[in-house]
Subunit: 361 residues, 4 copies
């Protein structure tokens, strides 16, 4: 089933899947996957932020056991890791999201399915021990509700409403290489877009903005599902506080992997300010720039309950299929465990800001 | 008419015209256009300054409409963009400033014609929906007045007096490549320079300095035209305040694109200090280092009413003639609109410092 | 005996041995030796820290004599230098640690023998004028004690207990090149590892953590030897104070040359904070990133009584055998003397923070 | 007489002589000239410091005349420039210091002759309108006095005692290329070195240190000449104040062009602190890293009365002989004049810290 069933030599850390995948993928797909929006300022900032955070070693207080379990929305996860929603896995693997789901399951890792997946969410669900569905506002309440109902019926455990990317386009390099989604890749979770009547003087951009989620959209969703609802794309403290006040069940600090508004802050920089504002009890996740278990550790210490892994999942999928996804996740988990051990953290609760050196590096 | 009527593939952002043009232009002209004075410290600083300013996303508060109109000197402009005065478009395109003007008009963008244009200002005027004339002090009041009268009669709407470059020479690389203005390119807007009597002990530099504009020159111009007069080259707060007190109608924060005194501050760094000093009502423009609509947004948020586009206009002209100029301007406009939408700004007035993250990146 | 008995041309400073060795060594061994753990953040930080510290010149107060002697644990050393414990010299030279010991002795420099040496400590001892033994906790008190007794009987003068690396693996590049310790290289100082019973649910990492040193291990060692005991791997002020309170005879500020927990601070950055906390009397050494006598001077000025030379010793061994080790140490000593002279320091006691410019560079 | 009598194309600024010379000179001589001591930290710092200082433009207040004259030790100089003492011009040009002196005279620039010149000071003197002699302490008072007497009799106007380099060796790259002073180049200003009796236990370094200048040496010189005496190598405020108290006539802030103690501060960084401490009246010069008239301007604004040009003089000599030296100096002077004009400084006295932007760049 998987045409690349082996891990190539030279993959000795999760991060190695990035180099390996970018060598193997067609140039346009590699550019689409690796690129960020506009000048890629935020893309770079995401990575650089991790370099500004240092660790502390534990010496004689290395724990004997290392427990990475974490509770999230009432469920116990084996590791504070989820696969982030990424569109169109069909670009990367013939089995598309089914391949990714197999890898996720093998590594005990929940997957957040993108509503822009190339596989019907009902088909993916049986392969997930724990799955969430990501969605955008679907132009009308009715259309949005139909998608939510499908998710509920298929057994998804949570909804993730992405707020930071009402308009999307490939990065500049992908555009230069004329990247396009191949027509054979369907979007079986979405209804065909409603054609909007042209309004005189309205720009193409403004036509897209009409379908952006609003606070009303959010309220509608919150009142029409029993599933927990998280919002994704939060970077500003005021937004975080307001959205929790609105009743969302969790926040995901994200900048769409540097693919939305170029110039917004690195997620690792936004994270501690938001945790401080929302308090210890709020469910707070993050993604952006994570390439190792050390990065996971830093995000947890700065306030994340768990992190989502975006590009790395597709890099691993490109290189070694489901096996690659599972292997990449295992390596992240092992790096996290090693980092916890040498930092003196026997469990996830022990990972707090006192374990870091920020601004002292 | 235009020998390069198509946009080459690979141009997916305004900034791409820079690379494309520098590949296509003869090396000496490319060096003349791209270079700055001396060690190019200010040239680099202009660009770097934009990298220190971050943005904020709007999440649920993305506007439905984006209005980029701005009022400037009593006129409504469709976009907060003007083409900056640049000498000798004949180096770049056989139709010289006429080509640029066509592109500007197609993109609803005012052009500030350089008095060192290779085309008579009267010839350019009909191609402009809105044009300004840039000038230097012309050695004597009479000569200066004759140029102003021509501008008034040809229908130019404003005068821009450049103050920061009483002495000009090509950058070092252009000099090394022996760049010279070809003799066939005329300067039909300027009278032949007066030969000055040699004064014993006077250096070549001092001969040039004799013709630099003074506060008296400025006063003379202000009292002898009904057109609004803006001064270009302002970087210091004290100068800004003094010049407004003198009665100028607007200030352009500029360092001549890093081509005047090397070592002066980046325009984006000078801009907010000057806006703070001159108050909200003063007309304040800027140029220097703008390569994208994101850069435009940052300049507006830091106090500019509008920005001038210098090198990019000639890069676009070099690559695709008038069509290139229009295309480049359209891309800047669209990038600005996208940036406004994702930042939550429905109109230009909404773009203020609260939209930025300065010193937090 | 030594197949490379001459110093190659081009070696004009201790640091030159690094380049020369990395050119000569097989790629996998070079990667093993030069690499750090994970992303090599700490490896780079070690070097960068020296660049942030400046010196002051002495002008008319250059001393006539320069005395580099220092007293350490009651012994007088000719120079404030020791060879750091590094495993498996057999990878680098056919005579393994015997070759290094010859070089050390020729340069009047103590050697800290790694317990992972390829040569029996009893064999090395006669070649050392002054030797220390480094050790890890050996799974049980009895096994650890047997190693200590061997050291005592062979005449080693101090024990160094390494605390920062309970788990070890080669760096990523070495792993990619499939670096492995060749089976012909023995570890004659270590008993075969005890096979631990598998505990259900216990990870491979946790099996290793069971054998990490604890405060109890340390107490056992301190109470069962008459030799002075130093602990290696200290980076945090709180650990430094606690360990001295426990009775250790000295601290070595170290991050295992960037080979243990990636992200911990540079040793030069940690050093002055620790010296300040432990007071002037505590025995305090450091290693990490030293490549010249100037670096030695900076470390001494920031609080080290002496420094340990790690990678450079094996680089020199690789390039020119025992002669290289001696030559490298002589160059370090001469650079230190020159630096002392030009800084106005007639002896080691004169090297204090007033000789530096920190944060003023 | 001069085998390279023309300025090569491509030399459009003083700095261009650096590139041109390093391409033309034999590799070992290029390395000797361009290199600094040890890790070249200070060498790089000298240049970097200029990049941290910004300028301000003058707009309507550009002066009509620019006067670069400056008074130094009672003499009027046409420009605030001197040629710094550099040893062994014979390495660069067959006429050695005579060639440099011709260039200096053509550009109205004083030369500070190195006592390690390859030409007798009496031979150089007639070619200088204004010359100073640099010297080291010559082992004994008598020997030193004989050198001073020669300088006095030959008409030198001042003595410069270098204090920062009691020990000298070529930089590492020059050593790697086996750079040596050719035996045919004499040192006609120095008596053969006294052979010192070997003292048991004394190192080679210590033998050299015995001949370093002390405060007593300085006092001897000050009491035995009517010439003004400047000391060179001052970087620390305390030294500056003490040396002036001792009666020296002027200070030269210098780090021997990054060739003495590696790690000492950039001269431009030390300069303003020293000027502040010694007051406006003290004679204060500097060298180190100057490559343009803009750099000269910054040094003057930060407190120098004049600057010395070191490497650039030999670069120009290598490229175009005496003509090159004169041309390089003319370009520095013209760049300085342009910088003064655009900064609004009609004379040297107007160049003060208010003309700079420090820490605001």
């Amino acid at each position: 089933m998987n045409s690349q069933p082996t891990i190539p030599p030279g993959i000795v850390s999760a991060e190695d899947y990035e180099t390996a995948a970018l060598e193997r993928l067609p140039a346009d797909i590699a550019a689409w996957l690796a690129g960020g929006s506009a000048g890629e300022w935020t893309l770079r900032a995401n990575r650089r932020a991790f370099g500004r955070v240092g660790l502390r070693n534990a010496l004689c207080r290395v724990p004997r056991t290392v427990d990475t379990r974490v509770e999230l929305l009432g469920e116990t996860m084996q590791h504070p890791l989820l696969l982030a929603p990424v569109a169109s896995h069909g670009l990367i693997h013939p089995l598309a999201e089914l391949a990714t789901a197999q890898g996720a399951q093998a590594a005990d890792t929940p997957l957040v399915l993108s509503c822009q997946a190339n596989t019907a969410l009902e088909q993916v669900a049986p392969h997930l021990s724990h799955g969430w569905l990501q969605l955008y506002w679907q132009q009308t309440p009715e259309r949005t509700l139909r998608l939510i109902r499908r998710a509920e019926e298929a057994g998804y455990c949570a909804l993730v409403l992405t707020l930071d990317a009402p308009v999307q386009s490939p990065g500049r390099q992908a555009q230069r290489l004329r990247f396009e989604l191949p027509s054979h890749l369907g979007l079986p979770n979405l209804e065909p877009a409603l054609r909007r009547e042209a309004v005189p003087g309205q720009s193409a951009l403004e036509r897209l903005l009409k379908d952006a989620a609003t606070l009303d959209s959010l309220a509608f969703i919150l009142h029409n599902t029993h599933l927990p609802v998280l919002v994704k794309g939060v970077l500003e403290v005021a937004d975080a506080v307001e959205l929790l006040g609105y009743g969302v069940d969790g926040l995901i600090v994200s900048n769409h992997g540097g693919r939305a508004l170029d110039g917004v802050s690195a997620t690792l920089d936004a994270l501690p300010l938001i945790r401080q504002a929302v308090g210890a009890q709020a469910t707070l996740l993050m993604d952006g720039g994570i390439r190792s278990g050390y990065d996971v550790f830093k995000a947890l210490a700065l306030g994340a309950d768990a992190v989502l892994i975006g590009r790395l999942q597709l890099y691993a999928l490109a290189v070694a299929g489901p096996l690659g996804v599972a292997h990449m996740l295992k390596m992240l988990q092992e790096e996290l465990q090693l980092c916890m051990a040498l930092s003196g953290c026997a469990d996830i609760a022990a990972i707090d800001p006192s374990r870091l050196r920020v601004g002292q590096i």
